[in-house]
């Protein structure tokens, strides 16, 4: 396998399960442990792999319940700066978990998380809406999560196959 193909395979495996050990990755990619470690270092150095984290259903952890909102923002792009300057000002806020420039009726799609509805309302009214170039915002609160990052929250986990079959 060439380097690009190896890096792609390692990135795919870690994206699915970042708990895989170097040994397991080496077995799956038919590389040595050292080669895998070097490839991961390279992926991290090039900011291809940006971080590692678990997908958590926070509703199941007492005291960790959060409120999530999707906020659509319409803006007027700035001369010579396009959307990037404004995006930078928005994504710096720790409440902003994701930010995308969108096609269609609005420009930015923002996912914001906070402890309660009031905090999100304050964030929108005091931080986002008053920003220069922001023309309009529309806030949608998440009522229930069904699937996130490709993982179904309430998926069946029991194996209903027979214990043994030929």
């Amino acid at each position: 396998m060439n380097t690009a193909k190896n890096e792609k395979k390692i990135a795919e495996l870690l994206h699915k399960n970042c708990k895989l050990s170097l040994e397991q990755l080496a077995t799956m990619t038919e590389m040595t442990v050292d080669e895998v470690a070097a490839a991961i270092d390279a992926l991290e150095a090039s900011k291809t792999i940006l971080g590692y984290g678990a997908i958590v259903n926070w509703d199941k952890i007492q005291g960790s319940e959060t409120v999530t909102a999707y906020i659509e923002i319409q803006v007027a792009p700035q001369r010579n700066r396009g959307f990037d300057r404004l995006a930078e000002r928005i994504y710096q806020y720790p409440e902003v978990k994701s930010l995308n420039l969108m096609s269609g009726h609005y420009d930015f799609g923002v996912i914001v998380e906070a402890a309660n509805i009031q905090e999100i309302a304050m964030f929108v009214s005091e931080r986002l809406a008053p920003m220069e170039s922001v023309l309009d915002t529309s806030t949608h609160f998440v009522l229930k999560r069904y699937k996130s990052d490709g993982v179904i929250y309430d998926t069946k986990t029991e194996d209903d196959r027979e214990v043994i079959s030929l």
């Binding site: 399960n17 077995t27 799956m28 194996d159 196959r161 027979e162 214990v163 043994i164 079959s165 030929l166």
Partner: protein, 390 residues
């Protein structure tokens, strides 16, 4: 007069031994916290777009019989699929039949061609149905033993030795359950050379054809002079994770398929209608699903094979299906004892190789149609067990 059911039973049926793993299965089923590597079916649920099509067909009220051979729309898709994936040309109308799983296709074919006294060559270890069905037809099963030394392939020499004037059919069960062995084009060329010298038919059970790793499956029907004398058995269970839908198909010479259709018509009528509609969707838009599942199996395959070799259980590299077939000879235990002790001591269920033919002695079948977590947990327990018994 008192009724004794024993007096009414067909002698051949009575003489068929019960499944070798029945007792083992009963023990495992009663135990809690068993980690099983004993299942012969995918862990994946059928991809949603295929399930959805099944649901949709119910909503539309498709609840009646289909034509005996199956929906023509499905047979056309089977014909397209065999051309697209294996470069085999079968006329949808006359050369395909939809069956209740690949198993029914095997049963239909053997019942259609085997007469008392005919010999059926069965490479072993292999799936368990060829022998009893042959016996039910009055035929004589003739096992051909394959070995780890030859990667459990059927060799031309062994085939030649087994052929007699009574030989009518060679079963070719590759990619193989339980060994994971495959036959490459080179291997098949040698088999075809032998077949050309003798007038026998081939039952090519290709139910695992889509699950090969590193190289594409070759059907013997693709080889010169083999097409007409081969009936290919395949299905949806392993390819699209559709075991519970019970749907397979057979492709072959029109004269054979038409006679198989008669048997099917009187025994089964037609395969389940909902499954047939779902299968059309699978064949039309399911090629990517095959790729995703195969890649996942391949990752697990490498982990399980390397795990067995690391703990001192020699495991040849299986290139097909989703089974590893490690040798447990170094433990000094028989296959049965190994499996039973492993189950009692460590609560891990694997299948004795002898369940698939006497020459499976010294091996156990371990499926990797399980999550990586389950495979790793099972490997840990097996390693502890091996250390203890060695």
């Amino acid at each position: 007069m008192s009724f004794n059911p024993q007096n009414f039973l067909n002698t051949t049926v009575k003489n068929i031994p019960p499944s070798g793993i029945r007792r083992f299965f009963d023990i495992a089923a009663e135990m809690d916290d068993v980690i099983s590597l004993g299942v012969g079916e995918p862990d994946f649920v059928t991809p949603w777009h295929i399930r959805d099509e099944g649901v949709y067909s119910l909503e539309k009220g498709h609840t009646h019989y289909t034509p005996n051979k199956g929906l023509l729309e499905l047979r056309r898709e089977i014909s397209n699929y065999m051309k697209r994936r294996f470069n085999l040309t079968y006329d949808a109308m006359t050369q395909t039949i939809v069956t209740v799983g690949g198993s029914e296709g095997i049963d239909l074919f053997l019942r259609t061609v085997i007469e008392p006294g005919d010999e059926v060559l069965i490479p072993e270890p292999s799936f368990v149905c060829y022998r009893p069905i042959t016996e039910l037809c009055g035929g004589t099963p003739v096992p051909i033993l394959t070995t780890a030394e030859h990667n459990f392939k059927l060799t031309a020499e062994d085939l030649e030795k087994a052929i007699t004037p009574k030989t009518k059919v060679l079963v070719l069960p590759y990619p193989n359950n339980p060994t994971g062995g495959i036959m490459t084009q080179e291997d098949l060329n040698k088999i075809a050379e032998v077949i050309r010298k003798h007038n026998i038919m081939i039952l090519s059970d290709e139910i695992y054809a889509e699950l090969t790793y590193g190289r594409k499956h070759i059907s013997i029907a693709q080889l010169d002079g083999m097409y007409e004398r081969t009936v290919v058995i395949s299905g949806f269970s392993k390819t699209y994770a559709m075991t519970g839908w019970r749907l397979g198909f057979a492709c072959g010479h029109p004269d054979i398929i038409s006679q198989m259709t008669k048997v099917h018509q009187y025994a089964i009528m037609s395969a389940p209608t909902v499954a047939q509609y779902a299968a059309i969707e699978a064949l039309r838009r399911g090629d990517d699903d095959i790729e995703v599942m195969r890649n996942e199996y391949d990752d697990r395959r490498k982990i399980i094979v390397s795990g067995f070799n690391a703990m001192g259980l020699d495991c040849f590299e299986p290139e097909g299906a989703f089974y590893a077939f490690p040798s447990i000879k170094s433990t000094g235990l028989s296959s049965n004892d190994f499996c039973e002790k492993l189950l009692y001591d460590m609560k891990v269920a694997v299948i004795p190789g002898t369940a698939f033919g006497a020459c499976g002695e010294g091996h156990v079948r371990c499926s990797y149609a399980y999550s990586l977590e389950s495979i790793n947990a099972a490997l840990e327990r097996i390693e502890a067990f091996v250390k203890k018994v060695k």
